[in-house]
């Protein structure tokens, strides 16, 4: 198998695996966060605004892990430096 095929295969497989595995953790974490927030809202409805705001901030921090995986996946598909390098080499030959 030559380099071009190898690089393309590795990039595609890794991109898919990155986003697939990388979304599991944040999804589970966000589910737990929202569940806990709902139960504390039920216990103390008066502090609803504080709980909601803290929930949103926490969700954003958890979400950013999934965003990092997404960005890596996008880079592998659309702005892959190894692919660009090998294509430039093949075009130059």
């Amino acid at each position: 198998m030559d380099s071009i095929t190898l690089i393309a295969m590795a990039s595609i497989v890794t991109a898919g695996l990155t986003i697939a595995l990388g979304s599991i953790g944040p999804a589970l974490g966000e589910g737990r966060a929202v569940a806990t927030a709902l139960s504390s809202l039920a216990q103390q409805p008066d502090s609803a605004t504080t709980i909601t705001r803290t929930l949103f901030v926490g969700l954003a921090m958890i979400e950013s892990i999934a965003i990092y995986c997404f960005v890596v996946s996008m880079i592998l598909i659309f702005a892959n430096p190894f692919w660009n390098h090998i294509i430039a080499q093949a075009a130059g030959k």
């Binding site: 605004t49 950013s64 965003i67 990092y68 997404f70 960005v71």
Partner: protein, 231 residues
């Protein structure tokens, strides 16, 4: 497949490129600045006021209340910075409704610039509130061993702010572009509404996180003992 508005070139002359990010950023700045100036030319404090003034008042008092809730005691010192962050990012994602508009926050340059502004603002407000020695002492709390970890956490917070906003905005526009090639009508509309929602939430998150970082840098650490009341 366009990854960011950096790649939309409107005009080029030698080394100077007028790309989409610059044009849309300046358009947003123009709308915000000129719009606010026009609305505040004739302010009234009576019962009759124009609806634009009421709109601005709602926005400003809302942001002030949020800043106070986070724990910053004099919101008027910080509302210039934090309010601008929120309004810029919110307007950028709101204007995605306009056809042909790409949010400038979908480019890593813009979000990195905003995150660097926060990185500079936190020590600025911290030193203004606590003096240089007081602020620097906060880096060695609770022990001196924490010094490298505190510094690393400052840098990683900034990086996280930039990448979070960039990732959310870019993924919104990219999902829309991909879906438009697959199912032209109904689904892209639903995704664009979702993109609006996440855009506003991310604007809120960005400014609240900046407020929380500033609050942690300016909070009073050793409250002075109350002077004895003179009887």
């Amino acid at each position: 497949m366009r990854l960011s508005p950096d790649e939309m070139i409107f005009w080029q002359h030698g080394l100077f490129k007028l790309n989409g990010t610059i044009v849309f950023t300046w358009a947003l700045m123009f709308v915000l600045a000129v719009g606010s100036k026009l609305i505040t030319l004739k302010l009234s404090t009576g019962l009759e006021r124009s609806r634009w003034q009421s709109l601005l008042e709602i926005v400003v008092t809302g942001i002030e209340k949020q800043i106070e809730d986070v724990g910053l005691r004099h919101p008027e010192k910080y509302i210039g910075f934090l309010g601008t962050l929120f309004l810029f990012v919110a307007l950028a994602s709101l204007c995605t409704i306009i056809p042909g508009f790409e949010p400038p926050t979908g480019s890593l340059s813009t979000t990195a610039a905003l995150a660097l502004c926060v990185l500079v603002a936190v020590p600025f407000f911290g030193i203004e509130e606590q003096g240089l020695a007081g602020y620097l002492k906060s880096y060695v709390e609770p022990t001196v061993i924490m010094l490298p970890f505190n510094i690393i956490s400052e840098l990683s917070r900034t990086l996280a702010l930039a990448v979070r906003l960039f990732g959310n905005m870019m993924s919104g526009t990219m999902i829309l572009a991909i879906l438009l090639t697959i199912t032209p009508f109904i689904f892209p509309i639903a995704m664009s509404v979702l993109g609006l929602l996440t855009g506003m939430v991310q604007a809120y998150i960005f400014s609240i996180l900046a407020a929380v970082y500033i609050a942690s840098a300016t909070r009073v650490r050793n409250p002075k003992p109350e002077p004895a009341a003179k009887l």
